[in-house]
């Protein structure tokens, strides 16, 4: 396949002039052709400079970037490939670029567009979310609707779920998010530099480390800072600790949702032990305040290293014994198997990433495909399952838990004396950088574009949940509505990471 896109590397700074700025028709043809050849979209967003432009980052086995000028209306790409649908809705909302013929052109987060143009959805934002756009509804004698949220029964984030059911069977689930929209991307452009790491850590608390690493790598690329290997190792350790705490918590929660309370209690507690390891290193249970551009704030002392090794040696057999209890219980298997299936074909069509993608047979893991930092020295063969059900998503997590433990144990063998490169260095002007990391949910990506003075012109964040919420909606089709909590937990997607 021939195309004019520029091949780039994860975390590599590129001068904006070297990014192909294509005529609109050529851009569209090549973009469609790339996706046709099993290409995926990493980032696709608009920005003003001074008029509206597009920038797309694509991946197959390599990463590519290209841009073009944007018309106010164009024929929706979603009509050809579903992968585009959320990106097009987001651009319509942020920059009032209308994809003609988009099958479900509804706001994503419900806010005014950035340039102050007439709204694509006809909202004036005086009404409450979701404004004047209706929910999808199905008519019929035995059809009923169930609306849940934004305030849910437990201590969880807000979101609205609208089910169209026939009896107990779900025909369609529409997920309306945006309740947590805080305007992160706009704040990242306006706020002073010193606030940025704090805002980044507030995108999603459970992914604070992965977001901090993406941000720090991007800043380091823009400032030509290289960090030492021990700092890279320290970042790898905390990113894997973040993965462990969340994956273990998820397995416990899945067990809870099928009323098998022993693994729920045990894994719930063990999750806390991993959060406490982050507390030991960073002073915060979510690792906030530790990873910063230039390295990590305090190096890992030998005493802390020994404490971590001791805790992991103690916890490893417990994790395995509880796993044995969970995965060999016939009641659990009966509920996990064949529930909430997403086929490999569907997964490919909508571009699932991370745990959910790998559970449907997609062998994509950023640590393997585009490794950054110390991951270039590790064996990161993706752990995949093929059945695409709740069981597959649980098993992928369990296998990744074992691998993460192994990675951390290996990295803790050697003393770590990382050095922090604190000096603030101005950003390169007219530059572009994209960073990708495998957060525990999947591919997390940050993009920074700087203007000719080296100020941030556009900051773009894409949480893996941006791809995967569609997967949850599709997983529910044909399921019993009572299986929703279980399916939802098996994806465990981020509301705040999506809402930004």
């Amino acid at each position: 396949m021939k195309h004019a896109f520029l091949k780039i590397k994860n975390g590599e700074r590129v001068h904006r002039e070297s990014i192909p700025h294509l005529p609109f028709d050529v851009f569209c043809d090549q973009l469609i052709s790339f996706v046709f050849h099993k290409g995926h979209i990493v980032q696709f967003f608009a920005y003003m400079d001074p008029h509206c432009k597009w920038l797309v980052v694509l991946r197959n086995s390599e990463l590519y970037v290209a841009g073009c000028d944007v018309p106010e209306k164009y024929l929706s790409f979603t009509l050809q490939y579903e992968k585009f649908h959320m990106f097009e809705r987001e651009m319509a909302e942020q920059y009032a670029i209308k994809p003609m013929g988009h099958p479900w052109l509804k706001s994503v987060r419900y806010h005014h567009n950035y340039p102050g143009k007439p709204d694509c959805f006809g909202n004036d934002y005086f009404d409450d979310i979701p404004g004047c756009y209706p929910f999808y509804s199905i008519q019929g004698e035995d059809i009923h609707e169930v609306g849940v949220g934004p305030v849910h029964a437990g201590i969880i984030e807000p979101g609205h779920f609208r089910f169209n059911c026939i009896g107990e069977k779900v025909l369609h689930l529409e997920i309306q998010l945006g309740y947590q929209h805080r305007g992160v991307e706009q704040l990242m452009v306006k706020a002073p530099l010193k606030r940025l790491p704090i805002i980044i850590e507030g995108i999603a608390g459970d992914t604070a480390i992965a977001n901090s690493i993406c941000f720090s790598q991007a800043v380091e690329a823009l400032s030509s800072i290289s960090i030492d290997q021990d700092a890279q190792i320290a970042r790898t350790i905390v990113l894997e600790l973040e993965r462990l705490s969340n994956h273990i918590g998820d397995l416990g929660a899945l067990s809870h949702d099928v009323a098998f309370l022993m693994p729920a209690a045990y894994y719930g507690r063990i999750r806390g032990d991993f959060l406490n390891m982050l507390l030991l290193l960073s002073g915060n249970r979510f690792g906030k305040g530790w990873v910063r551009p230039g390295g990590v704030n305090d190096s890992i002392t030998d005493d802390q290293r020994q404490q971590l090794i001791k805790s992991i040696n103690l916890l490893r057999p417990q994790i395995e014994h509880v796993g044995d209890l969970l995965f060999n219980n016939s009641g659990v298997l009966a509920r996990f198997e064949s529930t909430g299936c997403v086929s490999a074909e569907t997964s490919e069509k909508i571009g699932l990433v991370g745990v959910a993608g790998r559970a449907s047979g997609s062998p994509y893991d950023v640590r393997h495909a585009f490794p950054s930092g110390f991951y270039t020295n590790l064996n990161n063969e993706p752990k995949i399952e093929t059945t695409g059900d709740v069981l597959a998503r649980a098993k992928v997590r369990y296998r990744e838990i074992k691998r993460s433990l192994h990675i951390i144990e290996t990295l803790l063998q050697h003393p770590n004396h990382s050095d922090m490169r604190r000096k603030a260095i101005p950003f390169h002007p007219s530059a572009f950088v994209v960073t990708l990391n495998e957060a525990w949910r999947g591919e997390l990506s940050h993009c920074i574009i700087t203007d000719k003075n080296g100020n941030i012109l556009r900051y773009k964040v894409k949480d893996p949940s941006f791809h995967n919420w569609t997967g949850l909606a599709l997983a529910l089709r044909g399921q019993e509505i009572s299986d929703f909590p279980l399916c939802n937990k098996s994806f465990n997607l981020s509301y705040c990471g999506f809402d930004l």
Binding site: D128, H181, K194, A204, M262, G268, L281, L325
Partner: protein, 247 residues
């Protein structure tokens, strides 16, 4: 069955006896700050200038714990000569103004509202609403239900319906899109009811202050009875605040 028993045996008994027994947190944990007023004014100025949350007022030598996200920048820059974060997790406020502190933090037991304590102290049911934020406060509230903390042993429960609740525990900076749902949930709780603001976002907008996408601060929308600072507050800080105020 054998596996269940073996796991049960291996896990043992894990529930903490806090508050009867103290728990000590790691050295790097940043809890209640000590503020040294006699510090070189240049250092204070430097700390104030570099504070990402602009929480330090150099003239008064105070720090606003409602704004502070406990990132430790001031402690690092001033090498602990102005602010030093101790590993004492027991602090919370009943008045927003007290969050701006020169190091003195009023005793929460004494500040507690006695009639409320009498009314709700034995059995407290709370409804949690996440009004934006990053889900870290929610996660560290949820963790109070795990075996180590075992919140229900202390007569406190989080309930599903606001109709069953005695009060509201709010996290997040109250985004524009959550304002209505938050106020409706508050209205659905029978009176008398209390409101708890949890985490830097709910106290001051936190990392998201000045964003046009967040609405007025929680305490200007509702009367707040208890302010729990942190980003997020440690679960033990939350537990301490609930016990000191209600028990």
């Amino acid at each position: 069955m054998i596996k269940c028993l073996r796991n049960r045996w291996e896990q043992g008994y894990r529930t903490s006896s806090y508050p009867k027994e103290k728990i000590s947190l790691p050295e790097r944990y940043r809890g209640k700050p000590v503020i040294k007023k006699d510090c070189d004014p240049k250092i204070i100025e430097d700390c104030a200038m570099n504070c990402p949350q602009e929480a330090i007022h150099p003239d008064q030598c105070t720090i606003d714990l409602g704004r502070c996200v406990f990132c430790g920048t001031c402690e690092r820059i001033g090498k602990g000569q102005f602010v030093e974060f101790t590993n004492d997790f027991e602090f919370a406020f009943t008045q927003k103004k007290d969050c701006i502190t020169d190091g003195h933090i009023p005793d929460l037991h004494q500040d507690a509202n006695m009639p409320i304590k009498k009314l709700l102290g034995k059995s407290l049911q709370l409804r949690q609403v996440s009004a934006g934020g990053c889900n870290a406060c929610e996660a560290d509230t949820n963790v109070l239900n795990t075996p180590f903390f075992d919140l229900s042993r202390l007569g406190i429960q989080f309930v599903a319906s606001p109709r069953h609740a005695d009060g509201l525990l709010v996290t997040g900076p109250v985004t524009r899109n959550m304002k209505m749902a938050l106020l409706q949930t508050y209205d659905a709780i029978p009176s008398p009811k209390i409101v708890i603001a949890l985490g830097s976002c709910a106290l001051s907008g936190g990392p998201f202050r000045d964003s046009p996408e967040i609405s007025e601060s929680l305490d200007s929308l509702l009367q707040v009875d208890l302010f729990i600072p942190g980003c997020p507050p440690h679960p033990l800080t939350i537990l301490y605040a609930l016990l000191a105020y209600f028990k």
